[in-house]
């Protein structure tokens, strides 16, 4: 199928993009990597009036360190995140997750901002930044605002970003320190969206787990913090009993949605298995040199 008719403008600056968004309202659509938007256009699932191509906005590209915060421009491509030394050093969770995002040709175009703005519940990046407690910087014609990640994801393809705002930056606290992170997912084929997945970030000292944040994705309509599961875990030794308690608690955290790839029961089961595996790995990693992944 061929895309429907639309207009197309190359934004020349962030302000220009915002102006276009304001002018076109609902009918305007940001075109970043296009790796999610273009398929929907080619399937005529979306019919925007105006595509606002932000690929020329160099201000939105790049990865830098601001004190203890890693700043990733929204237009930074997956491949740059994957190959970044800063990410490898400061964000091992994201470095671990990135190879699971699609395939090389898609990572060469797709952007982290697009991934976060899209908010696919089965996507890796939203879960990772939620685990790491990131801050999202969005900009509208009235200026910039910062949104804590915990308040950003609202539901299936729904976020706290207003339609006329641009996601400009993702600020992620460096993982440097004694915390560990683990990323695990299950997909039918390599590079597919996950059927179940977990991003975990916290401390393990000896066998005792503290501050662990367990984030589940590909279960509900958005990445979800397993608050009860995390609570059942923190302050405990990682043991069979803890595992059982965490799994029980997880049932009150998650209400997985069935989809083509599996029932709710299967997804719940898989998330429990992944939780156990993630914590087994966290313990091993914590005991190893350096702590982080």
């Amino acid at each position: 199928m061929k895309a429907p008719k639309f207009s197309y403008t190359r934004a020349t600056s962030v302000e220009h993009a915002l102006e276009l968004l304001d002018t076109h309202g609902d009918g305007g659509r940001i075109l970043a990597g296009g790796q999610s938007l273009m398929p929907t256009l080619n399937m005529r699932l979306s019919q925007p009036d105006m595509l606002i191509d932000i690929n020329g906005l160099d201000d939105l590209k790049g990865i830098s360190l601001d004190g203890d915060t890693v700043c990733i421009g929204a237009l930074t491509r997956h491949v740059e995140v994957m190959n970044s030394d800063i990410v490898a050093e400061h964000l091992p969770l994201i470095a671990e997750a990135m190879p699971y995002v699609a395939h090389v040709a898609i990572r060469n175009r797709g952007t982290i901002g697009g991934s976060v703005a899209l908010a696919d519940p089965a996507a890796e990046m939203p879960a990772c930044i939620l685990a790491l407690g990131a801050t999202l910087v969005v900009q509208g014609s009235a200026g910039k605002r910062e949104i804590p990640v915990e308040e950003f994801f609202h539901g299936l393809f729904e976020t706290a970003r207003a339609d006329n705002e641009l996601l400009v930056e993702i600020r992620i606290p460096s993982q440097k320190g004694d915390k560990v992170s683990v990323f695990l997912e299950l997909a039918r084929r390599h590079g597919d969206f996950a059927i179940a997945g977990i991003a975990a970030y916290g401390s393990v000292s000896g066998d005792t787990v503290t501050d662990m944040r367990l984030v589940y994705f590909a279960s509900e309509d958005k990445p979800t913090i397993g608050a009860n599961a995390s609570a059942a875990l923190n302050g405990k030794n990682w043991s069979d009993e803890t595992k059982e308690a965490v799994n029980t608690a997880l049932e009150s955290d998650l209400e997985p949605m069935a989809n083509l790839h599996g029932s709710a029961a299967m997804k719940m089961h898989l998330q429990k298995v992944l939780t156990g595996r993630a914590m087994d790995t966290a313990v091993v990693r914590a005991s190893g040199a350096g702590g982080a992944a």
Partner: protein
């Protein structure tokens, strides 16, 4: 809404081209129908099969997920270009020798992707090759011969 047109200018396989096209034209439709480079194929137009793989400014991308208008000022290389330049002649020879293609419809995309992998010039296992090639669908070969061909070219390039 009437059809919005755009004039694009880019380099395709080393030659500068300027064309006025409907803005909604994706890059592969552009090179196929406007320029006659029919080596890039369409197998899905939703980003999954990889038959449309082309190189834009040095990176392999899905040609169906990029508007031709987005390639303004870019350097686009299709299978015809990479073939004529001789960059992958060893890989092409090996694909033929190993029969790493049957119908050949996936082959241009496979070669474009494999070219990027081989450019890494590192040791790689069969599993690494399979992982890198995992976004390119082939219904005919079962992949084994494709992996063989890439593996053997990588080995000889590393030795060579």
């Amino acid at each position: 809404m009437s059809e919005e047109m755009v004039t694009v200018n880019m380099t395709v396989n080393g030659e500068n081209v300027t064309k006025t096209i409907p803005v909604r034209t994706h890059l592969v439709d552009f090179v196929r129908t406007e320029l006659g480079f029919t080596g890039s194929h369409l197998g899905c137009e939703h980003g999954v099969c990889g038959a449309c793989s082309v190189r834009v400014d040095g990176d392999v991308v899905r040609g169906c997920l990029m508007l031709a208008a987005q390639a303004e000022g870019s350097e686009v290389v299709t299978i015809e270009g990479i073939s004529d330049s001789g960059e992958i002649s060893d890989l092409q020879d090996k694909f033929v020798e190993r029969n790493a293609l049957q119908c050949g419809f996936c082959t241009p995309g496979m070669l474009m992707t494999a070219a990027e992998l081989l450019a890494q010039k590192t040791e790689m296992s069969r599993e690494d090759i399979r992982e890198f090639m995992s976004g390119n669908y082939c219904r005919c070969t079962g992949y084994h011969a494709i992996v063989d061909a890439i593996e053997s070219v990588n080995n000889s390039r590393l030795k060579g």
